[in-house]
């Protein structure tokens, strides 16, 4: 068994030391080698059952986790529920207790409400990986972003990452803002004032700006966030056109960044809205690598929580 300080869950990065996070990323290198073999399977999690509990739809994320679990020989059971059973009066706790009766060994949880993964962890007592909870956190996405940047530059130490778009509603932005400074990087969050909560400036290692040119100046990585088109109807934006004009990550903006800067996007993209096609498909883009790295990083996380080693 390992030390008592070892986190049992990956809900966010609370309680995760830089050393342990680095170990996770190092281990993802090993997992990436597995994925390069003709037979992409190891017996690490044989006999264990992972439940993907998706209270909110996300096929891409679910497939990535399920493949990661299967490549390590885990059994996978998937539970999908809209908010329907819950709105009929069933508490989240009731649902989790039913799932726990199936004797699963770990949960991967996606939910529309911030903190829901924390509740699943409390009620199930099993290791929980947060696969996105409301605006709160999407830690494996942040880890694969960090992994992708590290792959490019060898380190995150001293690097600057600009994250541009709908920061307010973005769990990806929050998770990156929590993770990257722990690994020595500086994070600049940028977006129109209505989508950039000033209170986020309280996070260590994080600065805010509404000016995208200022945000990318000196940046080694520039990440565009997905813009939900309904933000316009909710009054956060005057028009999508105005947004794209000012905040789109395009070649013109990328020229302001460091010369070797890379472009990232958590997907799925609204092409030519938050990101231009010439950047998304261009030589600076690492968007395909992000997806690839996602599987290795998730294998590493599952391994770390379910088997683990110092």
């Amino acid at each position: 068994m390992t030390g008592s300080s070892r986190p049992r869950h990956l809900l966010d990065f609370h309680g995760w030391t830089p050393e342990r996070l680095t170990a996770l990323l190092d281990n993802a290198d090993t997992m990436a080698q597995v994925l390069d073999r003709p037979v992409k399977k190891v017996p690490a999690l044989q006999g264990l059952t992972v439940c993907t509990a998706f209270f909110e739809n996300s096929t891409r994320t679910r497939v990535s986790f399920e493949l990661a679990a299967r490549r390590m020989s885990a059994d996978v059971v998937s539970f999908a529920a809209g908010a329907s059973s819950l709105s009929k009066g069933e508490s989240l706790r009731d649902t989790v207790e039913v799932l726990t009766a199936y004797k699963v060994d770990a949960y991967v949880v996606r939910h529309h409400a911030a903190g829901a993964a924390h509740l699943v962890a409390r009620y199930s007592g099993k290791p929980v990986i947060n696969a996105g909870d409301g605006r709160r956190a999407h830690p494996t996405q942040a880890l694969l972003d960090a992994y992708t940047i590290r792959q490019e530059f060898g380190t995150l130490e001293g690097k600057t990452v600009a994250i541009i778009g709908d920061v307010r509603h973005s769990r990806v932005a929050r998770s990156n803002a929590e993770l990257l400074p722990k690994l020595g990087a500086r994070v600049v969050l940028c977006g129109p004032a209505t989508l950039l909560p000033a209170d986020l400036a309280a996070l260590p290692g994080v600065t805010l700006t509404t000016d995208p040119r200022e945000a990318v100046r000196g940046a080694h990585a520039v990440m565009a966030l997905r813009l939900q088109q309904e933000r316009m109807n909710a009054g956060y934006l005057a028009s999508l056109q105005e947004y794209a004009d000012h905040y789109q990550v395009n070649e013109r903006l990328m020229r302001e960044a460091e010369s070797g800067a890379i472009a990232l996007h958590p997907g799925p993209m609204n092409r030519d809205l938050e990101i231009s096609s010439d950047v998304a498909d261009g030589p600076r883009s690492r968007i395909v690598q992000q997806v690839e790295n996602g599987q290795a990083v998730r294998m590493s996380v599952l391994y770390h929580l379910l088997v683990g080693r110092e």
């Binding site: 908010a83 009731d94 911030a114 903190g115 409301g134 209170d199 986020l200």
Partner: protein, 422 residues
């Protein structure tokens, strides 16, 4: 004739053990000997029974959360002799017949007295005034749309003017609904870090400012409920300096908890208005000390356990606290406030807000009494609550100041057996 003597009790500020005899619902006198039934007060401190201006008893229609019997028993266990219930039930208390039915039912229960508040507007929809004169005749204690915010300022103005002509208090849940939006907790660094939609302090201050201007225009009596922010409190302070006929209350949870508790993602801490910052809590306490805050009220808001075990977006707002409000205040803030001030805030002050006679321990006064154990620490054990909401943010904490005995109308409404001071 019913007679009851409580022996071995101390009046606040005195170490002398005395006895009080109550007869036919009033205090007959002090140290008259063991007349009638005798109850040993075990050295506790006697005070007028507490008065609650803001409790949700959920009857009619939401009795899975609470009902008159459980809610008024819980109140008596908390030392309360009188409870003003909120009208946001199902149906809404906007009909004189409902007011009468509630009062009649509560009288038969023998716990705390019930004084129902009635809705200010029909269905609490904020559009048309309820039949305020009929509601008053039926026994309504005051008018409020608590649980709903009075978005239409003109309707509030009309309600205040009408209530003024009836000599009645209007109380308001002061929150601008458009600014509050979908907020589930205080807006600030914590809500942003947690990714939860925030409710800005400005939602409360903006609404208080609007309502105070309406009071200045109409001269009507307004009571502002459950203030949570420093800024809204400053507005109240200024209004009182101007001589406006306004009063306000604060709740124990806003004085003793902050938005940091939401880091647990536990919906126990989801309440409206939300738990704010330590700075706000400190200001509220200052407001109690300098008289800006008129009284304490619990906003006892019970829900079922299943509802509170949902995620933070889905779970309903509210903390149930009527059974431990006094111990909580005494343990946490007793030193700052002093016993006399704390008792005033929970007995005479709410009576003054309502325009009721101030409760006293003098001969001839109504025999609504509480005997408090100010010494013995007991653990908060929600399983023992009389309320149906058997969970609490303070579960497991050790508090002093538990009621040993509550007498309402000369009859025992609550008695804690077998422990306490001696």
């Amino acid at each position: 004739m019913t007679q009851l003597t409580i022996t071995n009790i101390k009046r606040p500020g005195s170490d002398q053990l005395e006895s009080v005899t109550v007869e036919n619902g009033v205090i007959r006198g002090w140290n008259l000997g063991d007349l009638g039934d005798v109850i040993d007060g075990r050295g506790g401190t006697v005070a007028p029974a507490l008065i609650e201006l803001h409790a949700h008893l959920r009857e009619p229609g939401q009795t899975e959360k609470e009902d008159l019997a459980s809610g008024l028993a819980a109140a008596a266990a908390g030392g309360y002799g009188t409870v003003v219930s909120m009208p946001n039930t199902s149906p809404v208390v906007d009909d004189p017949a409902i007011v009468r039915a509630l009062i009649e039912k509560a009288e038969g229960l023998g716990f705390a007295r019930l004084r129902p508040a009635a809705a200010l507007t029909k269905g609490q929809k904020g559009e048309h005034l309820a039949e305020l004169a009929f509601l008053k005749e039926a026994g309504a204690a005051m008018f409020t749309d608590d649980g709903r915010t009075n978005e239409n300022a003109r309707v509030l103005r009309l309600g205040l003017e009408y209530a003024r002509s009836l000599g009645m208090v209007v109380s308001v849940h002061a929150e601008d609904a458009s600014l509050r939006a979908d907020g589930v907790m205080n807006e600030g660094p914590v809500s942003e870090e947690l990714g939860l939609p925030g409710n800005p302090a400005a939602a409360e201050a903006a609404r208080v400012a609007r309502d105070l201007e309406i009071v200045a225009q109409t001269g009507a009596r307004l009571h502002v409920q459950h203030l949570s922010t420093a800024r809204a409190l400053d507005l109240m302070r200024e209004a009182k300096r101007r001589g406006l006929p306004v009063t306000c209350e604060v709740c124990p949870h806003h004085l003793t908890l902050t938005d940091e508790t939401l880091r647990s993602f536990d919906a126990l801490y989801k309440v409206a208005p939300p738990l704010r910052t330590q700075t706000d809590a400190d200001h509220l306490l200052e407001g109690l000390l300098d008289g800006t805050v008129d009284c304490l009220a619990t906003d006892h808001a019970p829900h079922t356990r299943a509802e509170k075990e949902r995620d933070l977006l889905e779970a309903p707002f509210g903390i149930a606290s009527i059974e431990l409000a006094f111990p909580l205040m005494w343990t946490r803030l007793g030193e700052r406030l002093g016993l006399e001030k704390l008792l005033d805030l929970m007995t005479a002050a709410p009576a003054r807000v309502m325009g009721w006679p101030e409760p006293t321990l003098e001969e001839g006064a109504p025999a609504d009494l509480v005997v408090l154990d100010l010494e013995t620490e007991r653990e908060v054990n929600p399983a023992e609550f009389r309320s149906k909401a058997k969970f609490s943010p303070w579960a497991g904490e050790w508090l002093r100041g538990w009621p040993l005995l509550t007498v309402v109308g000369g009859k025992v409404a609550f008695r804690r057996e077998g422990e306490g001071v001696e």
